[in-house]
């Protein structure tokens, strides 16, 4: 279980997160929604340790994440999928994937785990020896998701996986997430501006506005709340 309590993160005078609390139970998909600047990405960066919060606590499976170095969160089974820019374009597709599994040692980069990713995302298989900067936006997104999965995570943090993607590819990625949740009990925290597609796969949802939680509950309830949708989610 990922548990975030009363986290305050500031950039200078700006309170990017202003007392945010949320929990993500194992095996659930939690959507974090909100407009640009609501604090969604800051929330993810605070969870994985790239940004240090001013106060509050964050723990996962009994580990205090605020005391954990960024390099070590992967050891607790947490994988972060950055926005499409997180592809290391100077490396090949296959090297990007290998990198995901390297923390477990070289021998863990098995042909088997590589094959699973290629089966999940066939376009990557065709381009495995190509430099990652030749990939399209959708393929890059597949690559960062695939790379995170190579780490065999228990908790997947995704930052705007639908950004700049065609709806068909977004749907494909969302379907992959649901599949992983059902098959492997993966826990997912999904940060999205595209509330409609996120709510379609999520179990729970949190809406952020200017660093504060303004709504929290079952994804289906939030999707049904017309006022909330108009005010914060834009559909």
């Amino acid at each position: 279980m990922l548990s975030i309590e009363d986290v305050v993160t500031t950039y200078g005078a700006v309170r990017a997160l202003d007392g945010v609390s949320l929990t993500a139970e194992d095996g659930t998909i939690t959507a974090v929604l909100g407009a640009n600047g609501a604090g969604k990405t800051t929330l993810l960066r605070t969870i994985n340790g790239l940004v240090k919060p001013q106060s509050g606590s964050i723990s996962y499976a009994g580990h205090d994440l605020l005391k954990t170095r960024v390099e070590n969160i992967v050891h607790y089974g947490i994988a972060h999928v950055p926005e499409g820019r997180g592809v290391i374009t100077e490396l090949t597709v296959e090297e990007n994937l290998r990198l995901g599994a390297l923390w477990r040692g070289e021998r863990s980069v098995t042909a088997q785990s590589m094959r699973e990713i290629y089966e999940m995302f066939p376009p990557l298989a065709e381009r495995r020896q190509r430099s990652a900067d030749t990939l399209s936006g959708g393929e890059r997104q597949m690559l960062v998701v695939g790379r995170a999965l190579m780490a065999k995570p228990k908790l997947l943090l995704l930052d705007e996986p639908s950004l700049g993607l065609a709806p068909r590819i977004t749907a494909q990625i969302m379907a992959t997430l649901r599949h992983l949740r059902e098959q492997q009990g993966l826990t997912v925290v999904l940060v999205e501006q595209n509330a409609r597609s996120a709510l379609s796969v999520a179990d729970e949802a949190v809406v952020l506005n200017l660093g504060k939680v303004v709504a929290q509950g079952k994804a289906s309830d939030l999707a049904a709340d017309e006022k909330l949708r108009h005010a914060y989610l834009g559909f």
Binding site: N48, L50, V70, E71, N72, I73, V74, H75, A79, H80, P82, G86, I88, T89, E90, L91, E95, R98, L99, G100, L102, W103, E106, R147, A151
Partner: protein, 297 residues
């Protein structure tokens, strides 16, 4: 024609040394975005350590070489940890000033230990008497062949390290995208230290090879500064980001300087290097092989 061949061969041999220095600069630039101005002084210092062993204590050439490279590895790692790490997050100028400070420090220290004024000579690895073709002598001796082979071995070893091993993959990843690499569990800081160590080790090799070709040139000041300028020119020529570029840049520079010496005037070699450097910066500032600079904001 024979003269042209000779100048080319001599240029290739010198060019391999410049390539090694350029490679040392590129390794550090790729990892930390710092031009290591202390590189010349670092390889001067390791060369002096080898000189001390070899000339004062009669230690075998190959042992001296190993010690110099080992000292380079340690010096690089220590420089990164103690000096560069603390200023890494600050403005780029801070790191440059720190490397300049290290340069002055090492030069002063070497002067204090081994004396500033007189130049010493360091033995070459092999004979410096040129191969004979018929009755004519090539400007290419067994020692030049040794230089070419030694640097080539290092190049191949580094290529294999970077492209065929997990630690190489980690090093490339952390050089290109440190934040993403950390999220994937790569200990970026540790790899930067390894990068500096490797660079200084390659530099140490270049220093010894250079000292062996220029009898009377091992001095705290002078020749090794020129070596840094040549290495830097070669690195810029190839595009600071590219290790292939560093090698091609080094060879190209070596040959061009050799033609300049042979056909124009051999007293102003440093000037040719500076002219080439300025010309490259004006015409093709990203160098011949860089593909990344285009994208950098």
């Amino acid at each position: 024609m024979f003269r042209f061949l000779n100048l080319t061969l001599s240029g290739v041999s010198n060019g391999m040394i410049y390539a090694a220095v350029a490679l040392a600069l590129v390794l550090i630039w790729r990892g930390t975005r710092v031009v290591n101005f202390a590189q010349g002084a670092m390889l001067m210092f390791t060369t002096f350590i080898a000189w001390d062993l070899s000339q004062q204590h009669n230690v075998n050439y190959w042992v001296c070489l190993a010690v110099a490279i080992g000292a380079g590895l340690i010096m690089g790692a220590v420089a990164e940890r103690l000096l560069v790490r603390p200023v890494e997050t600050g403005p780029p100028l801070n790191a440059i000033i720190v490397t300049l400070g290290l340069y002055i420090f090492l030069q002063g220290l070497a002067g204090a230990i081994w004396g500033n004024s007189q130049a010493h000579s360091y033995p070459p690895g092999y004979s410096i008497i040129g191969y004979k073709v018929g009755h004519r002598t090539l400007l290419f001796a067994p020692n030049d062949l040794y230089i070419v082979i030694a640097v080539a071995i290092i190049l191949v070893a580094l290529y294999v390290l970077f492209n065929r091993t997990p630690i190489g993959l980690r090093m490339r990843a952390s050089a290109f995208n440190p934040e993403v690499s950390r999220l994937l569990g790569v200990r970026v800081g540790r790899l930067l230290t390894v990068g500096w160590a490797l660079a200084a080790g390659v530099g140490a090799l270049a220093g010894l090879l250079a000292a062996g070709t220029n009898p009377g040139y091992v001095a705290p000041t002078g020749y090794f500064d020129a070596l840094l300028i040549y290495g830097f020119t070669a690195a810029v020529l190839g595009g600071l980001d590219s290790s292939v570029g560093a090698v091609v840049g080094g060879l190209l520079l070596g040959v061009l300087l050799s033609y300049g010496d042979g056909y124009i005037d051999n007293n102003v070699e440093g000037m040719y290097a500076v002219i080439i450097l300025i010309a490259v910066l004006m015409v093709r500032p990203n160098g011949l092989f860089s593909r990344r600079a285009v994208r950098r904001v």
